[in-house]
């Protein structure tokens, strides 16, 4: 892949993240490569178990000790995976905004909300406590919270769900982020709250123009805020497409079945079982469930083909 460093902020090269269990190796991420543009938001979609969350943890270097990682992640000419952990932490802590799953548990219950928002600037930009709190007030106001003076002194359990959401995002954007990484930000939320999250992400994009990787299986959410869709299956990327064309014309058979399984469409479940991550299928990883599978799919892993400009599919149907 040609590295055009001017426009790319993150280059992910052949990442493999494996987990060592007692008597098996789980190949959670099995060869993922892509580049992320400086102001580009991508949505990583796929079933649970497809490896999308693990990919995020790999970039953030927050994997458990039994993880083995190969490959490189280049951010501003530095390979985040090869430098010492404390150095990576400094860079990641400052430039990357991580918005985790389970918003309820992501905030520290014994620290005031304002303090948690101020933590990053105090740590990385040498703000004083007072400056940090003033910044927290400003951010919360800009996110649409009323009574910010009261809120800033509250503890997480005193906030309503919507307020917690915004507090969590405030933590993420307390230093203008260069890359936003979000893990299932709408999991378990109802329509009204999802709307709120969409508005918040739109605000972040407008205000800071960062790059972003949004991992989610909530397609209606992802559709509203990302430029490109990356589909993950069994630890690999199997399709890349601009958002609008993805939804109007999905190319990979899995993508097609995935869209059909939504309640807003046919609500037809995808046949078969999710693949084993310990013993993934030979050839194309999707062939056991694919309605179009034939003998080559069972034997040979497909390459990444480009049937149209800007679109990539890992499927023999589109092979030369």
């Amino acid at each position: 892949m040609l590295m055009k460093l001017k426009n790319e902020i993150l280059v992910v090269d052949n990442i493999k993240t494996y987990f060592k269990l007692d008597n098996a190796i789980v190949k959670a991420v099995n060869g993922v490569s892509f580049t992320l543009g400086r102001n580009e938001f991508i949505g990583m979609i796929g079933e649970s178990g497809s490896g999308k969350s693990v990919l995020l943890y790999t970039i953030l270097r927050i994997l458990p000790p039994n993880a083995i990682v190969k490959g490189s992640i280049i951010y501003e000419n530095i390979n985040l995976l090869s430098i010492k952990e404390y150095k990576a932490r400094k860079i990641i802590g400052k430039d990357f905004a991580y918005i985790p799953q389970s918003i309820g548990q992501a905030l520290n219950p014994v620290l005031e909300v304002g303090f948690q928002i101020a933590e990053k600037p105090i740590e990385h930009l040498n703000y004083s406590k007072r400056q940090g709190f003033k910044l927290a007030l400003k951010i919360l106001k800009s996110l649409g919270l009323r009574e910010v003076n009261k809120t800033v002194k509250m503890y997480p359990h005193e906030l309503s769900g919507g307020m917690k959401q915004r507090a969590l995002i405030a933590v993420g954007i307390s230093i203008p982020p260069k890359v936003v990484l979000a893990d299932e930000p709408t999991k378990g939320l109802d329509i009204i709250k999802k709307r709120l999250v969409i508005e918040l992400f739109k605000y972040i994009r407008e205000r800071f123009n960062p790059a972003g990787i949004i991992v989610s299986h909530d397609l209606s959410f992802v559709r509203e805020i990302v430029d490109k869709i990356y589909v993950m299956y069994c630890g690999q990327i199997i399709e890349i497409a601009p958002t609008t064309t993805f939804f109007s014309k999905p190319l990979h058979p899995y993508s097609q079945l995935l869209l059909k399984s939504l309640p807003i469409n046919d609500f037809k479940p995808i046949p078969g079982e999710p693949p084993s991550m310990i013993n993934p299928p030979k050839g194309c990883k999707f062939h056991p469930r694919c309605p179009y599978a034939n003998s080559i799919c069972r034997r040979v892993e497909p390459g990444f083909y480009t049937p149209e400009h800007g679109r990539f599919v890992k499927c023999h149907i589109y092979g030369g």
């Binding site: 309503s160 329509i191 709250k193 309640p263």
Partner: protein
């Protein structure tokens, strides 16, 4: 998508569960001074073999209502009738004898089963407690149940932490169905799962409902999902039922302003107003008044009753006051 349409005229079906005037108040704050009306005067009827959806956002009181219906929580006011028996006045012993016929699938599967028990033992437990099978038939019965929810027998020897969310939820469904319940309340059973698993589990649930003909109360915040699941829908807001009707009618022609805004979010992705959560208190007037674009001065003072409207529908809104018959 409806798998069995052999309902016949719903007027001929008898009521399975009937709730009248249910109220549940939670006390929060210093010295328990703040009162939250989680369920605020709800009437509800579920007929035999029906598929009903209860739709509302988080905080609307749906789970509290479900727990009241199952007598997991005690109502502060109101009664619950199962067939003709008044459950709310039964002694503990008598209640024990009927309660197991009403089963519940929780939203978060993680703590619904004992973490140390193998799935087999958890599924078989209600059978043993209620003495529904003999020890010879037990194994076969469980294998059949597992097959119905499309799980492989190998999974029976695993523990909850060793299986995926979708598999766990299916095991919980198997356990609920083991006792052959007459009512199954599924409380957002798939909101934590990804879309393809969601589709599969709901299909299984509906197929089983068709076969075993139990009444299904499906609770969700996703009105789009409700379209595929039920025939009748109840919209809940701030502890009250604000609209009731057949799914087709409500989706095509929403009556209550809140329902209208939900449908518009669905169709156009726009929301009339994004607001901070307002606690369901018991102040005067309609509970939706602070956002409603159609509000009248009447709405500020008086709470609208649930008004009957043609086509077997109900709305809690003064805009339909003309439909009130003397």
């Amino acid at each position: 998508m409806s798998l069995c349409t052999n309902y016949g005229d719903s007027n001929r079906r008898s009521s399975l569960l009937r709730a009248v005037g249910l109220v549940k108040i939670f006390h929060h704050g210093l010295f328990r001074s703040r009162k939250i009306y989680a369920v605020n005067n709800v009437d509800l009827t579920l007929l035999h073999g029906e598929r009903v959806c209860l739709v509302g956002e988080s905080g609307s009181g749906k789970t509290t209502l479900a727990k009241l219906l199952l007598l997991i929580l005690k109502p502060d006011k109101g009664k619950v009738y199962y067939k003709d028996i008044e459950l709310t006045s039964l002694s503990k012993e008598k209640l024990r004898r009927v309660r197991w016929k009403l089963q519940y699938i929780p939203q978060h599967p993680e703590n619904a089963l004992d973490h140390r028990w193998k799935l087999y033992d958890s599924i078989v437990e209600p059978l043993r407690i209620l003495k529904l099978t003999t020890s010879n038939e037990e194994k076969r019965y469980v294998y059949d149940l597992i097959g119905m929810v499309k799980l492989k027998p190998e999974i029976l020897s695993r523990r909850p932490r060793e299986v995926s969310g979708g598999e766990l939820q299916r095991a919980i469904i198997a356990r609920a169905l083991a006792v052959k319940p007459e009512l199954l309340i599924a409380d957002e059973p798939t909101s934590m799962l990804d879309p393809s698993t969601q589709a599969e589990i709901i299909h299984i649930l509906l197929k089983l409902q068709c076969r075993n003909k139990f009444t299904l109360l499906f609770i969700t915040h996703d009105i789009e999902l409700a379209r595929h699941v039920c025939d009748r829908i109840l919209i809940m807001y701030s502890g009250q039922i604000v609209e009731e009707g057949s799914i087709k009618d409500v989706l095509n022609e929403p009556l209550h302003p809140y329902t209208k805004s939900l449908i518009s979010v669905l169709k156009h992705g726009s929301l009339i107003h994004v607001y901070d959560h307002v606690e369901p208190g018991n102040n005067r007037g309609c509970k939706y008044k602070h956002i409603c674009p159609y509000k009248l001065s009447l709405c500020l003072q008086y709470e609208p009753p649930l008004i009957r409207v043609p086509n077997n529908r109900k709305v809690r809104c003064w805009l339909y006051a003309h439909e009130i018959k003397k």
